[in-house]
């Protein structure tokens, strides 16, 4: 029995998701910065520094995720061990990693210079930092916090309230970081006062610790009443538990103060104390060895495995073939499988999974859908027939056709309820294959991709926010190039079908990430570089085959459709809107099988919603133009074009919040649907579908938090883009604010609408829900 109890105790680990994710992120950030700075200052940043910092993060994770945390309400000794780790293990280890510079070096240079720079240069913040790290302040902060939280009343309060318990732990960790700062003196901090002062500093802290530990050890009664009433485990009485906790604090706690005390004293008395000076001198020498090579940007194509796959001759074809096979299976199951959408590949795969993964890929990597487009194979087939002699008509060379088709798609999605009718989804895919085949059979280049495909246009607009873009590695190499294979192609490889000439290509608009240019370039001069996700929208250069964004009303309209459809698509799925639509449809006469009038009414309703949103946006722009008056000089068209694109982050955040809800709620539908489809196709080797659903991946509150967080990020990024654009037009800050304000009000209204939509109960389409 005792063994099984011990086993139960040792297996009582938790996984605090957000804290763990945060610690991993900080660890990765530190390692990135540590690797960078190690190139210039290897003596200052040996491996043990990284080991210490990562060890500190690991200790912190152990303190909050191990059985120590699980048992802290039952055993005082467990709780005190947890405090000891938070106060005496984690802070010194983190500070030994000298984290300030590596963490800063890990950030993009522009974020450091423009984002954090003003704060670092502010005298007020310098003063606050100097105060916080002053030895007297740090000593008092740690010891007062330590004593105050161990007084029975606040201690009991923290035990009863999980929120305040976290605050208590944050106090211990925060004040201990301050306390250990003058002791460790992490590089590049400067020593303040004599190093000898650290001896009484540590002795004083040890005396405080000893007094508290002794009061626990020798108290004749249980000081914290909670421990007297909770069930006792391991046969240990509450008083014995308290004595053990006191002894632990006394002995182990003192060791943590006395070991550094001895080390500092030894160091001060030893002649080697000049060693640090030598290290600094060496570091200065190696700093000069920084080369341009080390300042290179992150290039995905240089990565060993991913880069090789992306550049491989048949790499894209492999992805496209896989996507084509999936599309064929979806079509087949749509016609032959169960008519119930939630049990059919055509009801689940495109609408629940692929849309969500597509949006995630756009925001995390880039236009992966176009890269692995299944409609490429019929396009290729059409080209091979050799009938593609016509150029796409000049008057259609814009995004207007695609914008109209996109609106038609969003309307038909609701009107024909594709998500609920697998056969209609299958027909839609067939129509798509047919359109791709017909257009590219008769027209040259990638006319379908560039001017027709609504999915592609959605991806082009959204990919303006993607963090990777294809660019020339060296402009000088492009200037020396005489063959221009990247656009003209050669005998081995065709060039860019979308007419994006690499030296003048700026951003992701119209780029399908086909990698044709990469493979065609004889100088290996094209990379897939990491860029700021706002850069593409913020800049307005003349772009190859596109021109300036500020003159392209069709591209602005495309962006607006992407944004407005995000809100409309989500709104039509929430209960209050769906109920009104149902009530409206009951008023209309029914014509079976297609209630045409209902379709028209739905279309009119959608148009009305979109038009009112558009009107709000337009009024905002008009007001901006009027308010700015002669003090800022954007043309109305420029204002419309660029502010419309600035809305993209908000729109994409809404798309992500909406589609991730469906993905996370029905995340495990695919398994049974595949088994069901296998059965429908007669593949009886697959086990039969088991339709018992698990719970959603996230709890309701966690899901809502994630959705609101995405929307917050979207609105902030949109406002930031708006501000930067306003500053480009109106150099005076006050005028820029006036220019921004009316438009920002419309953004705030859209944000409020988004929050309202996310708070409503949402239909879960195409998924069998847990009862």
């Amino acid at each position: 029995m005792a063994d099984s109890v011990s086993q139960a105790v040792w297996s009582s680990w938790t996984f605090p998701f957000w804290a763990s994710a945060g610690l991993i992120a900080v660890g990765l950030l530190y390692l990135r910065g540590w690797r960078k700075i190690r190139r210039t200052r290897p003596q200052l940043f040996p491996g043990w520094r990284a080991g210490c910092f990562l060890g500190g993060l690991l200790s912190l994770w152990i303190a909050i995720a191990s059985p120590l945390d699980t048992l802290d309400g039952l055993l005082l000794v467990a709780h005190m061990t947890q405090h000891l780790i938070l106060m005496s293990v984690v802070p010194p280890l983190l500070l030994l990693g000298a984290p300030a510079v590596p963490l800063l070096r890990a950030l993009p240079r522009s974020a450091l210079r423009d984002g954090l720079g003003p704060f670092f240069r502010a005298p007020l913040l310098h003063g606050v930092f100097r105060l916080l790290t002053h030895p007297v302040f740090a000593w008092l902060a740690m010891n007062i916090s330590y004593l105050a939280w161990h007084v029975p009343a606040p201690y009991e309060f923290a035990l009863r309230s999980p929120g305040w318990h976290e605050v208590e732990h944050a106090c211990f960790l925060g004040t201990s970081l301050l306390f250990w700062f003058p002791v460790i003196q992490p590089w590049p901090s400067v020593q303040r006062g004599s190093r000898w002062a650290m001896l009484p500093y540590l002795v004083g802290a040890d005396l405080v610790n000893t007094a508290l530990a002794a009061s626990l050890t020798f108290s004749p009664r249980v000081l914290y009443p909670s421990y007297a009433v909770v069930p006792r485990i391991f046969g240990m009485s509450a008083l014995a538990d308290q004595e053990a906790a006191g002894a632990l604090m006394w002995v182990v706690g003192s060791i943590f103060f006395l070991v550094p005390l001895v080390m500092i004293a030894t160091h001060l008395l030893s002649p080697q104390s000049q060693r640090a000076v030598a290290i600094t001198a060496t570091a200065k020498v190696s700093q000069r060895t920084v080369t341009a090579q080390q300042r290179q940007r992150f290039d995905l194509l240089r990565l060993p495995l991913v880069g090789a796959l992306l550049r491989a001759r048949y790499g894209r074809m492999l992805l496209q073939s896989a996507a084509f096979v999936i599309a064929v299976l979806v079509i087949a199951d749509g016609f032959l499988g169960k008519p119930m959408a939630a049990m059919n590949l055509a009801g689940v795969l495109p609408w629940t999974y692929l849309r969500a993964f597509g949006v995630i890929a756009l925001l995390v990597l880039g236009n992966m859908f176009c890269m692995s487009c299944p409609f490429m194979l019929p396009r290729e087939l059409g080209h091979r027939l050799g009938w593609a002699r016509f150029k796409w008509p000049r008057w259609l060379r814009s995004k207007w056709v695609a914008v109209a088709l996109m609106i038609l798609f969003f309307w038909s999605y609701e009107a024909f309820a594709f998500w609920d009718h697998p056969a209609r989804t299958a027909w839609l895919l067939i129509a798509y294959f047919g359109a791709a085949f017909v257009v590219d059979t008769f027209f040259r280049g990638a006319s379908f991709c560039k001017y027709v495909c609504p999915l592609g246009q959605f991806n082009f607009a959204a990919s303006l926010l993607s963090p990777f873009t294809l660019e020339a590695r060296s402009q000088a190499t492009c200037e020396r190039c005489t063959t221009h294979d990247c656009i003209a192609g050669n005998t081995q490889q065709r060039g860019c079908e979308l007419q994006l000439y690499m030296p003048q290509k700026a951003g992701n608009m119209d780029c399908t990430l086909c990698m044709d240019c990469v493979k065609a370039c004889p100088h290996d001069n094209i990379g897939l570089f990491a860029v700021s996700p706002v850069r593409d929208v913020l800049r307005d250069p003349v772009r190859s085959s596109i021109g300036r964004f500020s003159t392209r009303i069709d591209i602005a309209a495309l962006s607006l459709v992407v944004v407005l459809s995000a809100f409309a698509n989500a709104a039509l799925m929430v209960a209050p809107v769906a109920a009104r639509l149902t009530a409206l449809s009951e008023l209309l006469p029914k014509h079976e099988p297609l209630p045409l009038l209902g379709f028209v009414a739905l279309g009119a309703l959608l148009a009305l919603v979109a038009a009112s949103l558009f009107a709000v946006e337009f009024v905002g722009l008009l007001l901006s133009r009027l308010v700015a008056g002669k003090h800022a000089n954007p043309l109305g068209r420029e204002l419309f074009c660029r502010f419309s694109q600035a809305l993209l982050p908000l729109g994409m955040a809404m798309w992500a919040a909406h589609l991730l809800f469906h993905l996370f709620t029905g995340w495990d539908t695919l398994g049974p649907v595949i088994h069901q489809a296998g059965g429908d196709f007669g593949w009886h080797s697959l086990p039969p579908a088991h339709w018992a659903m698990a719970l959603p991946l996230l709890s309701a509150n966690d899901m809502l938090s994630l959705q609101l967080l995405l929307l917050d990020a979207g609105v902030l990024l949109t406002l930031y883009l708006g501000w930067r654009m306003a500053r480009q037009w109106a150099p005076h800050a006050g005028r820029a604010v006036l220019l921004l304000l009316p438009w920002a009000t419309t953004v705030a209204l859209a944000y409020a609408a988004g929050v309202w939509i996310l708070l409503q109960p949402m239909e879960m389409r195409g998924v069998i829900m847990n009862s």
Partner: protein
């Protein structure tokens, strides 16, 4: 600014309080019954409308040793609706549901605010024990606090950004 900071701090703490999944939660009941000593924990505390975690530790009454293998059932019913059984639920607790493996836990859903009756039945071999207690369930404030936090978050970031821009402008001016 000061007021805003206070509101933000209170909301942040509220968020924390609702986000934390306790190691069993707060003790609701600790009582001897038959051959067992039974302790019932609940989280969140105070209990609110919506999902709640109930955890139970069973010990041998004589030796105090923790017993890991009893079968435990918890029933909840609102006192006001006892006659027509609205909202009544029975949950079989399991070891795997609790982060503290000395406990058995399960989730119940309190559908309304008010007074609820909890009935606990523990079986182990031939031994059975039954305990009853009452608890007060309060209206759920967690969701609205969460929403307010996330709605105010952009405002906080915007304020920091304004401060940042003012600093930048003043530094450029100098």
């Amino acid at each position: 600014m000061k007021g805003f900071c206070r509101v933000a701090a209170v909301l942040a703490l509220g968020m924390w309080a609702t986000a934390v999944r306790g190691d069993g939660g707060t003790m609701l009941l600790h009582q001897d019954a038959g051959p067992f000593t039974i302790t019932l924990f609940a989280a969140p505390q105070p209990l609110q409308v919506g999902a709640a975690d109930l955890s139970v530790m069973v010990q041998d009454r004589g030796s105090g040793a923790v017993l890991l293998d009893p079968a435990i059932e918890v029933s909840i019913a609102p006192e006001a609706a006892a006659s027509h059984q609205t909202g009544q639920q029975t949950v079989r607790l399991a070891t795997g549901q609790a982060s503290n493996r000395l406990l058995q836990a399960g989730a119940v859903d309190f559908s309304q605010a008010g007074k609820w009756r909890l009935t606990l039945i523990v079986h182990r071999g031939d031994d059975t024990a039954r305990l009853e207690t009452e608890c007060i369930v309060q209206p759920n404030a967690g969701r609205s606090r969460l929403v307010w936090f996330y709605v105010l978050l952009p405002l906080g970031v915007i304020l920091v950004f304004i401060f940042h821009q003012r600093l930048k402008l003043s530094q450029e001016f100098k």
